[in-house]
């Protein structure tokens, strides 16, 4: 089974590498959204420092959402998805591998680029660790929850907007814990509690989400 999963992961990453513009778009979107806030609100350093964790997290949510539509769409269109459903490898593990590949392509770049955005927002460098760690723990949860929505809306008209409507309310706890952790660290109280809760959400989502994604895919393709 490990072979199948490694193969799947390799395939999805290779596909992403071949369609580099897809990957770049989500990252560029993240950067542009975070650039818009100072332009709209004003560039006072104190204000920017206060809103930085929230803005970066909201942008991460939206950016993750943007790339979710493609998670199953291409495989659904060319019939690969049906082969995965019929295949011997357990579907839960297959979708977990796909969600992991989605995170590597769409979530991990955000974790890497976030300190640069934080620099623009004049966030103290002592908070970069908390910010990156919160994104590292939180963005995989976004990929896992989002994959449920992507599977449910597979092949529907208006799928993109619908996906946002379904998934964004479910993202709320991740947003609160992610941005809250950085704010706690900024207040000098330590981000540990929030990061631990984010970790708990990651474990919970990693256990239950693949089951739900698999069920949603079976509903969508039957």
């Amino acid at each position: 089974m490990a072979d199948v999963l490694a193969c799947l992961l390799h395939r999805d990453l290779l596909l992403a590498l071949r369609n580099r513009s897809d990957v770049g778009t989500a990252l560029l979107f993240f950067i542009i959204v975070t650039t818009l806030f100072p332009l709209g609100i004003g560039a006072e350093p104190a204000l920017l420092r206060a809103i930085a964790p929230g803005v970066i997290w909201v942008a991460a949510l939206l950016s993750s959402l943007l790339s979710l539509g493609r998670l199953f769409a291409a495989d659904h269109a060319d019939g690969t998805l049906e082969q995965m459903l019929l295949g011997a490898a357990p579907l839960g593990a297959v979708v977990a591998a796909k969600a992991f590949a989605h995170w590597l392509v769409s979530g991990l770049p955000l974790v890497v680029i976030a300190p640069l955005i934080a620099l623009q927002y004049d966030l103290p460098s002592s908070l970069y660790g908390a910010l990156a760690l919160s994104l590292l723990l939180g963005t995989p949860v976004l990929s896992l929850i989002g994959a449920i929505g992507a599977a449910l809306t597979l092949g529907l008209r208006g799928g993109g907007v619908l996906l946002a409507l379904l998934v964004l309310p479910l993202y709320v706890p991740v947003l609160i814990m992610g941005a809250g952790g950085v704010e706690m660290a900024a207040a000098g109280m330590g981000a540990q509690g929030h990061l631990l809760l984010l970790g708990a959400m990651l474990v919970g989502a990693a256990v239950f989400a693949p089951w739900a994604i698999a069920a949603a895919l079976r509903i969508a393709t039957e």
Binding site: L152, L162, A216, A220
Partner: protein, 236 residues
Amino acid sequence: MTAAGTRWFWYASPQTFYPLAGKMAPAFAIAAVVLAAAGLWVGLFVAPTDAQQGEAYRIIFIHVPAAWMSMFIYVVMAGWAALGLAFNTRLSGMMATALAPTGALFTFIALWTGSLWGKPTWGTYWVWDARLTSELILLFLYLGFMALQAAIDDPRRADRAGALLAIVGVINVPIIYFSVKWWNTLHQGASVSLKSAPTMAATMFAGMILMALAFWMYAIAVTLARVRCIIAERGA
């Protein structure tokens, strides 16, 4: 299949449930009207004026039962959804679909009356209180459920996809509630608390319970009427 087993599933078929729902809906509707009349009479004329909030508090006879129903209906909806996925009964999905608009309506009423109460009492229509915020997110969950079902043409797929979403949602509701609560205490923005409300007079409590029962009966009546429409629509 034992005799008891067959009886258990007898009304799970839309054909047999349709006439039963037609008989039950008017009875529940009458009960709703009677209970609402009694509840409004107790609430508006019998219950004493509140010492701190004056007459403005009387909106709780609508607000609190609506808030209770908004959460309760989501759980019932998820329960029907789970039943539908487990037993593959067609009626369960229809019940979940029929419950969603009523739940969304109660959520909206709870938010609306809450803001009307908040203006004279708290001095503002909206505060980012944990309860208000999670109620708003609950409304989004209802609307998401309805939007997903509306976007799917095949009714069986709509039922099953909606069922899965309702179950995912019901697991998330407590997580959302507690995270919003912790977020709220972190921000310290809204210092008003519902806990500071004075202890309630017996007649106020009676009025609220009567209204809650009235809303309950209304929800059942409307859901049964709606499920009849859904059965007729699908020609089942």
